[in-house]
């Protein structure tokens, strides 16, 4: 049984069916929709794509994969001793092996004086429909949060011709970019009409007839019609009976995506897997990570032992003809890294490569032409770049491709330099 129908769940199903054709697979979804990805929501909002086009799988996918798919069945309780799950609407069901890929839920706001009906979220299709309904009459929007989802939401609203405001607790895209990169992205968005209030924690709010008024930490007060909370996500974990399972932020999994209870696996936003660099467990709620973990969980559930190499933080952002990306880590602890960096605020171009020893560990770029996947290949395979660091920095597109091709060609042979 698989709880959830997101990317991790679908990757796991594909992998299981690659290995075995006979096992019964049942997938249960909390929502009453066909599988979709939350990453498509901003584009749905900016009307780049119609709702009928966002479904991840064709109608015959479940038939082809021989999967029973049940909608509107939220699992709230897992009984590992009886090998059973319990649904919110009542009723229990048995399982042999369970994959928890239930994804994440938005982080709830600390009470600021608003009812929950006045706080909008941006996480599911239902949230989006609610937002779309409200946007018909109301024009003033405040987005609270400065992460990637908040930024993409702001871009989508800008593209719809609105002038949203963004209240950011520290600064824009803190997780992926440093001040200069983030600042430059902020400037580009400001020119398009976004107002960013950084360092402004919302202290209090009041709902009036004319709208919502907010008071920020730095003393500013803001009036708005709509208030959208985008503070990030946290794992959505059903209650698991007994105290054998290890949960910190998410469900702690080993290298085979197995939780501390045999037979229960977890993958995607809900799982707390190993960090590629530090080896410490942590959650990384991004899409490529969900595929990676889903595949590993699927393989191991079907009986093929495959180990995880760990997750890597990464993301790319395309907006108004610009593009930016961040791959790998920027935390190197006590080690002495070699940083190659070039940044021009005027040209709106910048790149930064971080090496530890001979290996690349992190890359950030703004409006630089390169293949993000190839850079990821270099990091993931711990390729010894050695004396080609400068060349890679000067021409990341071609040198990256060459290093990748050379390594694929020689497979396992260390490059001569």
């Amino acid at each position: 049984m698989i709880i959830g129908c997101g990317t991790a769940a679908l990757s796991a199903v594909r992998r299981i069916r690659n290995i075995t054709t006979e096992d019964d697979i049942k997938m249960v979804s909390r929502e009453d929709y066909w599988p979709y990805s939350p990453a498509s929501l901003p584009y749905l909002l900016s009307r780049k794509i119609a709702k009928s086009k966002i479904w991840l799988t064709g109608q015959n996918f479940f038939e082809r994969m021989n999967v029973t798919f049940a909608r509107e069945k939220e699992v709230i309780h897992i009984l590992p001793n009886n090998h059973q799950v319990e649904y919110r609407k009542g009723g229990k069901e048995d399982y042999d092996t369970l994959l928890i890929a239930s994804g994440a839920t938005p982080i709830k706001l600390a009470p600021i004086g608003l009812d929950s009906s006045n706080i909008l979220n941006f996480h599911t299709l239902k949230d989006l429909e609610k937002l779309g309904e409200q946007l018909k009459e109301k024009r003033e929007v405040v987005i609270y949060g400065g992460g990637l989802v908040a930024t993409e939401l702001a871009i989508a609203l800008l593209e719809r011709g609105l002038k949203p405001k963004m209240v950011v607790r520290s600064r824009l895209l803190r997780r992926y970019f440093d001040e200069e990169f983030g600042g430059c992205i902020g400037q580009i968005l400001s020119q398009k009409g976004l107002r960013i209030y950084s360092g402004g924690k919302v202290l209090g709010a009041e709902s009036r007839k004319s709208g919502i008024s907010l008071v920020l930490k730095n003393g500013t007060s803001l009036n708005t019609d709509l208030f959208i909370s985008c503070l990030g996500v946290k794992p959505r974990i059903p209650v698991i009976e007994g105290n054998e399972i290890l949960i910190k932020d998410g469900i702690i999994v080993n290298d085979h995506m197995n939780s501390s209870i045999p037979g229960i696996y977890a993958a995607g936003d809900v799982a707390e897997g190993r960090d590629f660099f530090s080896g410490k467990p942590g959650i990384n709620p991004i899409l490529p990570n969900a595929i990676h973990q889903g595949r590993i969980a699927g393989s191991n559930m079907a009986g093929e032992k495959i180990s995880d190499s760990g997750w890597i933080s990464m993301n790319v952002l395309y907006f108004f003809g610009h593009h930016a990306g961040s791959i790998g880590t920027f935390e190197y602890g006590v080690h002495q890294p070699q940083i190659l960096r070039e940044f021009s605020n005027k040209k709106r171009k910048g790149k930064e490569l971080i090496f530890l020893g001979d290996r690349l560990i992190g890359a950030r770029f703004l409006n630089i032409n390169l293949d993000p996947g190839v850079i990821l290949y270099l990091i993931e395979n711990r390729l010894e770049i050695g004396s080609y660091k400068e060349a890679l920095f000067q021409d990341p597109l071609n040198v990256g491709r060459w290093l990748m091709l050379q390594n694929e060609h020689e497979k396992g042979v260390i490059l001569k330099y």
Binding site: T7, L10, S11, R14, N18, Y36, S37, P38, A39, S40, Y43, K48, I49, K53, I54, W55, L56, T57, G58, L287, P288, I291, G294, M314, N315, V316, L317, Y318, G321, H322, H323, G325, I327, D371, P372, G373, V374, L376, Y377, E380, Y388, A391, D395, N398, V399, G400, R401, W402, M404, L405, Q406, E408, H409
Partner: protein
């Protein structure tokens, strides 16, 4: 047919400097040329249409799809909104984002036309079409899934491919050996959708003679195929085989050669190579088998049968072509000698069986050739043969061999190849053997 697709092959680092005609002419922007004069690299990069593509799973709107008919990953224009996650998911630089138009771009093989190949004047790009091979295959799989042979055994692929080529009008003969468990499933349940005949080791060709003659009498064209091991072929069942070959019986005889009696616990057979360990040729004082192997396919050539060939499953195209030729023989026996490395008996890792087959060909330990009416032709010339050491060191049964012994092994391999080449040259000049 699923899994048989056309492939665009790109030679590594042989592009002339400053030629990017493929990139310029590509209307899909799906191929990129990489020129780095400093690193002395000039090559091309494109999507290889992987088997388990990450880009498809990463796409948040399901815009990417692998077409099962031709294996090409295509982008649905109306579903793609250019978020760029695919370019992050693909580690091999096969998909690109047009940041102005906000659309993903990739190679779609021009729907099988591969236009870039026509523009490439330097023979860097080449298409391998799957149709010639696909046409030789029957649609239906005759051997069912879940065959009870050891993990990693290439004999099973050989059997499966053989049945795929021969089709339903076939009777399969076997004798006690590894394949018997795959063909007759030890009598428990049927594994094959054609008739099978479990003979003794001493009477396979004689039984086949009777069955084939019966079919000939009633006027039915049925392939009588034996699929037996090297022990049955070269030791126990050699006399009836030799007799049937001499009588010119129209049967097809395939010997899968794992170079020992593997089914009964790795005892030496007459095709076990010099110096190899088996349970009856222990290393101890003598250092494995003391004599060289019987050259079984060459012996069959001297029987003057219409068709003799050697094959491996690592060179499947070659094997399929030889099977097709064997099927068309109507005036006598066709004999195919299939090398089937046994991971257990050869003391090698399970996953290495195909690699062992490939290495056996590339070191000329097992050259691929065929003889039509005695005219020998080498079907796969190895341009730069690897030293035999690279083959020997892949497995445990030769692990006791010292460098000096390996050198004499190399000498033996070279001599055997020299003789084969000499015969092939001779066959080319004149039809001497017949």
């Amino acid at each position: 047919m699923k899994g048989f697709y056309d492939i665009l092959h790109r030679k590594f680092n042989v592009c002339p400097p400053d030629c990017s005609i493929c990139e310029e002419k590509c209307s899909r922007s799906g191929i990129k040329s990489v020129h780095l004069p400093k690193q002395q690299f000039h090559g091309v990069l494109t999507c290889v249409q992987c088997g388990e593509p990450k880009c498809i799973e990463a796409c948040p709107s399901g815009a990417l799809k692998k077409d099962e008919a031709d294996g090409v990953i295509r982008i649905s224009e109306e579903k793609c909104f250019g978020c760029g996650i695919c370019s992050l998911a693909c580690r091999f630089g096969g998909i690109y984002i047009d940041s102005k138009k906000r659309k993903a771009l990739k190679c779609d093989t021009c729907n099988g036309k591969f236009e870039c190949v026509e523009y490439c004047r330097y023979d860097v790009l080449k298409v391998f079409r799957s149709k010639p091979i696909r046409d030789l295959f029957q649609e239906e799989e005759i051997l069912v899934s879940g065959v009870p042979v050891c993990a990693g055994c290439p004999m099973e692929i050989g059997l499966r491919t053989m049945l795929r080529v021969f089709g339903k009008e076939t009777v399969v003969f076997t004798a006690p050996g590894c394949a018997a468990s795959a063909i007759t499933a030890k009598g428990f349940q049927p594994t094959m959708k054609v008739s099978t005949y479990g003979c003794l080791m001493t009477n396979v060709p004689s039984s086949m003679t009777g069955v084939k003659r019966y079919f000939q009498r009633i006027g039915k064209n049925v392939n009588c195929v034996a699929f037996v091991g090297d022990g049955c072929t070269s030791d126990v069942g050699f006399q009836p085989l030799s007799g049937a070959a001499e009588r010119g019986e129209n049967i097809i005889y395939i010997c899968y050669d794992n170079e020992a009696y593997m089914n009964t616990g790795i005892q030496r057979s007459s095709t076990t190579p010099l110096g190899a360990w088996t349970t009856t040729t222990p290393v101890g004082k003598w250092g494995g088998k003391r004599v060289g192997p019987k050259d079984m396919p060459m012996l069959m050539v001297w029987h003057k049968v219409p068709y003799v060939a050697t094959a491996t499953v690592s060179h499947l195209e070659d094997y399929v072509r030889k099977l097709t030729k064997a099927k068309s023989v109507k005036d006598g026996m066709a004999y195919i000698h299939l090398l089937a490395p046994c991971p257990i008996g050869w003391r090698a890792p399970f996953e290495e069986a195909l690699e062992l087959s490939r290495m056996a060909v590339e070191t000329n330990y097992f050259p691929l050739w065929e003889a039509e009416h005695g005219q020998i032709r080498i079907t796969h010339e190895v341009k730069n043969p690897k030293p035999i050491k690279s083959f020997i060191r892949m497995m445990g049964r030769f692990s006791h061999l010292k460098d000096k012994e390996i050198q004499s092994f190399q000498k033996m391999v070279d001599e055997r190849l020299g003789m084969l080449k000499g015969l092939a040259r001779l066959s080319k000049k004149q039809k001497v053997i017949r």
